[in-house]
Amino acid sequence: MKEATTEKDTEISVNDFVIRFANVNGTGSASANGLFAKAIFRSGVPMSPKNIFPSNIQGLPTWYEVRVSEKGYLGRREGIDILVGVNPQSFKDDVESLVTGGFLIYDSSRQLHSEFLREDIHMMGIPMMRLSMEHFEVPRHQQLFKNIIYLGATVALLDIDIQVVRTLIEEQFAKKPKLIPPNFKALDIGFNFAKENLTCPLPIRLEKRDLLEDKILIEGNEATGLGMIYGGATMMAWYPITPSTSVAKAYENHASKILVEKQTGKKKFAFVQAEDELAAIGMVIGAGWNGTRAFTSTSGAGVSLMNEFIGLSYFAEVPATIVNVQRGGPSTGMPTRTQQGDMMSSAYASHGDTKHILLIPCTPKECFEMASLALDMADRFQTLIFLMSDLDLGMNEHICEPLEWDKNRKFNRGKVLDANDLEKSDLDWGRYLDVDGDGICYRTIPGTHPSKGGYFTRGTSRDEYAKYTEKGEVYQRNVDRLTVKWNTAKNEVPKPEFYQNKNKGELGMVFYGTTTYAATEAMEMMEEKGIIIDSMRVRAFPFGQEVEQFIEDHKEVFIIEQNKEGQMRTLIINELEFSPKKLIKVLNYNGYPITADHIVEKIEEHLSIRDLLN
C-alpha cells in the first residue's frame, strides 16, 4: 500500500481525471455529488457527470462518476482515478475499480479490513462518520452531512476553489437559509481535515479555466420538456416510467410557471397522468386529431404497449409525438441503464407496413430544438414522430450551448383548412386527396365549419374522400401515397452533421445520439495514431441524400451504436440498400455509456483482421 499522496510517483495531471463517488441510494449523497460536479462546471472546466443508480429507492449501491476533461471530451472514460467509497456493500468492487496509482478516499471511522488493501493505489482515510457524529446531533443530519464532509475533503484534495462551493450551497438553500450554516460547517470539517491530515492538493487536480463561456449544464429531459413548451405543446399525457419521468416533470414544472394566464392563474396547458401508456398515447392522438399540439414521453415497455395506437396515428394520419427515452432492454431489462436499443422497434413500430420518422438529438440543446421540431413535423406530416433520447442524455447533466428561441417563429401547423378555405366554391376537398403531389393531404379540425369538412377518421382503409372501402386498388393508391409522403420526409428531416468535413478517405464512421461524445473522441485518438476516419452523425430517420452520399463515398463505414444487433446499421441497409459488407458494427450494449477506448479498440481490431486477410 502506498503512503497517501506524498510520493511523487504520480505525475501532476491537471483537469483530466475521472472521479467516482460510491454511495448508498436514498442517503442524501445526490446533493453532495451534484455540488461537486457543478463546482467544476463553475470553474470553467469541461466535465460530464454520469449517475449510475439502481432500480430501487433506498439502500442499494449507487455511483456518481465525473469525468473532467480540459480537452472537452464529454463521453465516459474507462479507468477511475479517484474513488470516494462510502458504501460498504460495494466497497470491495469499488476498490478494485481504481486504476493503478489511483486514489481511494474512504471512511476511516472504522478500521479497514485488510482484504480491501491494495498495494498499488493511494489510500486516504477520512473518518467521515465520526467527524459528522462529533459535530452534528440528529442522526438524520449525521447521515446527511457526512456527504458534505467528503465533499469538503475532495475540494481540498483537488484544489477546487472552496468559495465556488460555498456560493453553490447558498444558491441551493436560498429558500431554506437555515440550512446554509450547517452545510458550510460540514464542508469546512472535511476541507480542514484533508488540509491537515492529507497532502493537498493531489497530483491529480483542478485548475480554473474559462473554457465554457455561456454554456449551461442541464439534463436532456429537462431541455425536452422546455422544448415542448416553446414548441407549443398544450397537452401532455404520460405514465411514469424511468428514465422518461423527468420529461413530464420538467414540462409540468416549467409550464406551471410560464404557461399560465396572468390575470386568472389558469393554465394554458393540460397535464395528465394517464392510467397507462395506452391511454397516454390515445390522449395524444385525440388531441392531435383536434388540432392540439400534444406529446407523451415513455421508454421501452411503454412504446411496446403503444404499438397498436402508433399504427392508428400512422394510418389514420393523425399528428402525435412520442419522446422515447431509451433504457436497457429487452423487457423490463435494466431500467436504470442506458442503451440505444429501440431504434428498430420505434422506426417500424406496429403491425402491417409502417414506418415512422425518428429525430435523434445528441445534446440537451438539441433535445430542446428537436422537441419543437417534432411537433412541427407531426403537424406537417400528419403522422407520429419519435424523439429518440436515452437515459444517458435524458437523466445526466450535459454541458451545452444555452437554449435559444426565435420569438418570431411560427408553428408549422401543416396543411389545415379553415372555414374560409372550406367555403371556396371550387374546392374539391378530400381528406386523403394528394393535391400537391407530396403525399400530404389537407385536413380539417373538428368544429371548423357547420356543413363542410366533417369526416369520419378511421384506422381502416378508405378512399380519397375518407369513405370506407375494401377495394384493393383504392387501398393500394392510399398506401402508395404514404410512400410518397415518406419520400417527402427524407428531404425535410434534419440533415446529418459531419466531422472532418468529408475528406473522402476510405474509412467512415456513423454514429448518433449519445454515442457521439465517445465517437468524436475516438476519431481524434485514431487521428493521433494516423488513422483518418470521416465521421457523420445521423440526426433523423428516414435518411436524406447526404446520409446516402456519405456512405456511398466511403469504402468501409463503421456504425457505432449502443445496442446488440446494430439497429441503425439495419435501418441504413434496409432503407438505403447498401451492401451490408461495407458496414461494420461497433457496438456497446452493457448498459454503461460507450467509451472512446472501446471504439478505438474495436475499429483497430477490425482493421488488423482485415489487413491480415488482405
Partner: protein, 352 residues
C-alpha cells in the same frame, strides 16, 4: 359501403332553433343488420341532437371498434367523427376534449369494447369526470366478430352462437360500476324505448361531466333468441323504470305541473332543468347511495332498472379540475403561448 341519401328538401320541413332540418343530423345509410338495436339508438341520437339545437360542427363523435362503434357513420354526417381502436375511445375522447372544451363529445361503444378490452379506460375516464356522453350499446355479445359472449352477458343467458351453452360467468353491470366509481351521471335505457332514451340523451349532453348511458340494444343476429336476457322480448318484460324525465332547456320554463311528492326538479350547471316525475319511491336521483341501493334491489328481482339512475348537479369536469384557461387549448396561438422575452434567458441562467 355507404350510400348517399337523396338530397331533395321539402320546403315545408321543420327546422330547429339553429336552422337545421332533422335530416341534417342524419348520417349515411346503416350497414348494420336489419332490426339491430343499434340503429334505433342512432335514430334517438339524431332526434336528441335536433331537439337540443346542437350545431352539427359543435359535436364530435367518437367510438371504438364493433358494430356499435360503426354507428357514428349513421348519424350526424356533418360532424367530425373518430372510429378509433378497440376499447380505447375514452383516451381519444380525453385528448380531444382537453384540446377543445367547447365541443360536445359523444362517445359510442359496445359492451365488448367497454367491458372487456376497454375496462381500464372506462374506469379512468369516469374517474376524471371527462365532460362527455358515453353510450354503451349493450347487446351482451360481440356482434362484429360473430356473437361471442361479452362480459355483460348475464349468468345463465344463452346466445345463438354459444352452441347451447349458457354463460357461466357473472355479468359486469356497467351502471353499477359507474356508480361505484362515483360517476356524476348514470342512466340506463333500452334501444326500443325512444321516448325514454331521447330525453336521457339530451340530459346527458347537457351534463357538465361524464354522463354514462347503458343502453340495452339487442343483436338480432346473434343474441335475440329465447334464453337470452338481452333479447327484445326478454328486455321488454323485465324493465323497471326509475321515473319519467322531462328535459327543460335552460331558456325554457317548466310548464307542466306534476303531482306533488312524486316529482323532483334538478337544475344542471348550465341552468338546464331535469324534471322527474312518477318517481320510484325508494329512489333519490341525486343521492348516490340511494341510487346504488335501487339498482341493486332491481337487479335482485331479475329486472333492468332504466331511466336516470343518478346525477350529481354539482359535477366539476376535468377542465375545472385541471383549471385550464377559458379559450380552447387548440386555439392558443404563438403569441398566447410565448412565455415572454427574457424568460428563456432566466431559465438558461438557472442552469449555470
Amino acid at each position: 359501403m355507404s350510400y348517399i341519401k337523396p338530397s331533395f328538401v321539402h320546403p315545408a320541413l321543420p327546422r330547429n332553433k339553429v336552422g337545421y332540418l332533422k335530416r341534417d343530423y342524419e348520417g349515411t345509410i346503416s350497414t348494420l343488420c336489419a332490426g339491430c338495436g343499434h340503429d334505433s339508438i342512432s335514430a334517438s341520437i339524431v332526434e336528441a341532437c335536433y331537439e337540443l339545437n346542437i350545431e352539427p360542427h359543435h359535436l364530435a363523435k367518437l367510438s371504438g371498434i364493433g358494430c356499435s362503434s360503426k354507428t357514428p357513420a349513421y348519424f350526424l354526417s356533418n360532424s367530425h367523427g373518430f372510429n378509433s381502436v378497440h376499447g380505447r375511445m375514452p383516451s381519444i375522447a380525453t385528448g380531444a376534449n382537453l384540446g377543445n372544451k367547447d365541443l360536445i363529445y359523444l362517445g359510442v361503444s359496445g359492451d365488448g369494447d367497454t367491458a372487456s378490452i376497454g375496462m381500464g379506460q372506462f374506469v379512468h375516464v369516469i374517474r376524471r369526470n371527462l365532460n362527455m356522453t358515453y353510450i354503451v350499446m349493450n347487446n351482451g355479445c360481440y356482434g362484429l366478430t360473430k356473437g361471442q359472449d361479452s362480459a355483460t352477458a348475464d349468468f345463465g343467458s344463452m346466445s345463438k352462437s354459444g352452441g347451447g351453452v349458457s354463460t357461466p360467468f357473472q355479468a359486469i353491470d356497467l351502471a353499477g360500476m359507474a356508480l361505484e366509481l362515483n360517476a356524476t351521471f348514470v342512466a340506463r335505457s333500452f334501444s326500443g324505448d325512444k321516448d325514454q332514451l331521447v330525453p336521457l340523451l339530451k340530459a346527458a349532453m347537457s351534463h357538465q361531466g361524464f354522463a354514462f348511458i347503458d343502453v340495452i340494444s339487442p343483436c338480432v343476429t346473434f343474441n335475440n333468441n329465447k334464453g337470452s336476457t338481452k333479447a327484445y322480448d326478454y328486455v321488454r318484460d323485465h324493465i323497471e323504470v326509475t321515473g319519467a324525465l322531462d328535459f327543460v332547456p335552460k331558456e325554457e320554463e317548466i310548464t307542466v305541473s306534476y303531482e306533488a311528492g312524486c316529482s323532483k326538479t334538478i337544475e344542471l350547471f348550465d341552468k338546464t332543468k331535469l324534471n322527474l316525475h312518477k318517481l320510484a319511491k325508494d329512489w333519490n336521483p341525486t343521492d348516490i347511495y340511494s341510487a346504488k341501493a335501487k339498482l341493486e334491489a332491481t337487479k335482485r328481482q331479475g329486472n333492468y332498472l332504466t331511466g336516470l339512475i343518478y346525477v350529481n348537479p354539482e359535477s366539476k369536469d376535468l377542465h375545472r379540475i385541471l383549471d385550464t384557461v377559458d379559450k380552447p387549448l387548440n386555439q392558443l396561438n404563438e403569441a398566447e403561448l410565448y412565455p415572454g422575452d427574457g424568460v428563456l434567458d432566466g431559465i438558461n441562467a438557472g442552469f449555470r
